[in-house]
Symmetry: C2
């Protein structure tokens, strides 16, 4: 079984900015992306924001020789936008849809319609089982007043749990995508701390690309300059992370990003920069229990940090929960007002001596307009109340899971103690 040969694995990730009719130059950009991918010959290609199935099928045809295996993850109304191409056969495919993901009435923020999710595929690469995850978390529309922070933290938690609980059989775990979080943000700390995944940017000495590994930069002509005012070097929000296992040692050999332009082309591939990494994986003897214990001992401090991080995430989810409960309450009050108005109108219509005079045109028109308005209010607030209720339940569920996680982590710290072995 064990070989001493290194397996080399090239992984690519790009947010393609593929919102048809809204994103600029979609067709020529997909052609450029296809040309790049055909030339570079990656093992695994993780694409986000491929919102049009037509574009997915174009890529599928274009990559049919170098990456014959692929999956397009479907979710939400127009999403999930996640597409995966592989040189290696897909053994299994699964999808987890995040339970909290923005609001349907925020049509310009679109996230709800995209049905943000984490896609999973299992591939066999020369006898090595790799579990590959691709995701795109809720966007951050304002860093100062980020109304979606609890959503993104709750999504990160579900991502963490999904990866932790589905990767036990994996020799190698790879996660890539647009996480919409800066490297020191709560969600990234939670993800790295609790899954043990390593950020490729930190794991290699051999990095070529934008300063600080930025993937959304002002030099890119498609990016919003106002968004990047406070970040003149751009921000790093796209990631490839990985980890080996007891039977396989993995390391990141090199990491590169595009830099806002493509030589010989009038515009870049996307508004995000593309990431490519080279991973090296090597079979190793299963670690002895003693070794594992020692490693666990060394990580007591990490454990304490993780507890803080999960607690911080829990606080954020609680904030989101209170906010969501507030909105549900508002929807209910609006609904009651609509109902009261409707009942009043019905009373006026039914009781003759209250009826609006037929001679007066305006009050009658107002009467019916108010009636329509109250009816629509009633229907819409009813739908919203139901929606908010599902979101309250989902956030409650996340918070409970986090509470249990903190308890168990604290027990691990206690059971080790400062002097015990």
């Amino acid at each position: 079984m064990a070989t001493t040969q290194d397996v080399r694995l090239r992984v690519f990730s790009l947010n393609c900015w593929g919102v048809r009719y809204l994103s600029q130059h979609c067709t020529p950009r997909y052609q450029m992306i296809a040309d790049l991918l055909k030339e570079e010959d990656f093992d695994l290609i993780l694409l986000q924001e491929v919102y049009s199935e037509k574009d997915y099928l174009f890529l599928k045809r274009a990559l049919s020789h170098c990456n014959p295996h692929s999956h397009y993850f479907k979710s939400g109304v127009i999403g999930s936008g996640l597409a995966l191409f592989s040189k290696h056969k897909l053994l299994d495919v699964f999808l987890y849809r995040y339970s909290v993901n923005g609001f349907p009435y925020k049509a310009f923020h679109g996230d709800w319609y995209a049905g943000k999710a984490v896609g999973m595929v299992v591939v066999n690469i020369g006898g090595m089982i790799a579990h590959v995850y691709i995701t795109h978390l809720h966007a951050e529309y304002s860093r100062e007043k980020d109304a979606y922070l609890p959503h993104r933290v709750a999504q990160t938690w579900e991502l963490v749990q999904f990866v932790r609980l589905t990767s036990a059989a994996a020799d190698l775990v790879i996660l890539g995508g647009d996480l919409n979080m800066h490297p020191s943000d709560l969600g990234i700390r939670l993800l790295r701390g609790y899954t043990g995944l390593v950020d490729c940017y930190h794991a290699t000495q051999n990095f070529q690309g934008c300063p600080d590994g930025a993937t959304y930069i002002p030099q890119n002509p498609f990016t919003s300059k106002s968004e990047l005012e406070t970040f003149p070097n751009g921000i790093r929000i796209d990631y490839i992370l990985f980890k080996g296992s007891a039977t396989l040692a993995a390391k990141c050999d090199s990491f590169s990003t595009t830099m806002g332009h493509v030589p010989g082309q009038p515009f870049p591939y996307s508004d995000h920069e593309a990431l490519s990494v080279m991973l090296l994986a090597q079979r190793q003897q299963k670690k002895q229990e003693e070794e594992e214990e020692e490693e666990a001992m060394a990580s007591s401090e990490l454990l304490a940090n993780l507890i803080d991080t999960v607690n911080e995430a829990r606080t954020e989810v609680k904030v989101g929960l209170h906010h969501m409960e507030g909105m549900r309450h508002t929807a209910m009050r609006m609904g009651i007002m609509g109902l009261a108005l409707l009942l009043l109108e019905m009373l006026i219509a039914l009781v003759p001596w209250l009826a609006v005079s037929t001679e007066q045109g305006f009050p009658r028109a107002t009467f019916y307009l108010l009636g329509s308005l109250s009816l629509v209010t009633l229907v819409l607030t009813g739908v919203l109340y139901i929606f908010y209720s599902t979101q309250v339940k989902a956030l409650h569920s996340t918070e409970e899971q986090m509470r249990l996680a903190v308890l168990r982590l604290q027990e691990q710290v206690t059971s080790r103690g400062p002097h015990s072995r």
Copy 2:
């Protein structure tokens, strides 16, 4: 690590029929359930339809001594109704919400509001890691004309994938709940065939309970007699399934159900019968590869059956998909009609010489009523169109996963061949 001692594990499952204000005698029945559980001292208790958190908290208090660890899975608007109590500490908790689950406007069928899901907990039972799953699938309201069959099959598929992909680290896997399917139904064959889970009813020589293991019987005063007209012995729709692992041999020692009444009580625990099983688990030497291969060879026929089953399930999901697309189409047409009517009304209102005479009261009232109606139609069909679109995407996703599964299973058959080793 290895011990030769058997671990004995008692598991209980019951659909509690706990819909407040609709289910009869909720309070005394929960008292009876609590008394039973305190007396019987189970390791794991899997309850469904605990829709009121108050009832969960009542049970939590009542069982605080014998089953101090518990989790209430929250999902949907009023659900998920799943509650788990354990004698053993919960190490991890996770929830997967089914992507397709009835319709929100079918309020009397309630499933959509319950947010049907599969809950998962990880427990450590004397050094043995058990992954315990609890679920409740979409109800079957008519066996002859089952409009929800594609929903239940899609849910079963997600359940299968969730269990398969999250149970790799488990020594023992236990799944219990109300599956709303008869033992020979497509979903049960899919679940057993693809996860390898064994039905406790088949696995034991020592069964005590209703004929054929029925769990919804006409002798129970709460059941619908018309529903059971064609099944005078009742139907078996509640299950406990299990499987061991390479390192742990598990078997079912005994299985019993309640029988429609409780001695000394005026009514039974619920409209469903309660299930209790005794599992025996024993550590074993990890199987040799050769042994595993031989076992795999023996299962070629099972594999062929499984391919048929997945194909059958895929057909069923496709039927559901076409139906869902049809409903989306209807919603769109209704929406366009509503919009056309609204535009016509606005035109009449805006163009003076088309305006309804102020002398005629009735046409004016009709005018505004029609306006309100078209407005409400527009809003509702818009919401429905969005809802159906998410469901179409979800069913597409399931169908794609099934297609891939069939391909991989077929390859397994081919690679073995009739004569190859």
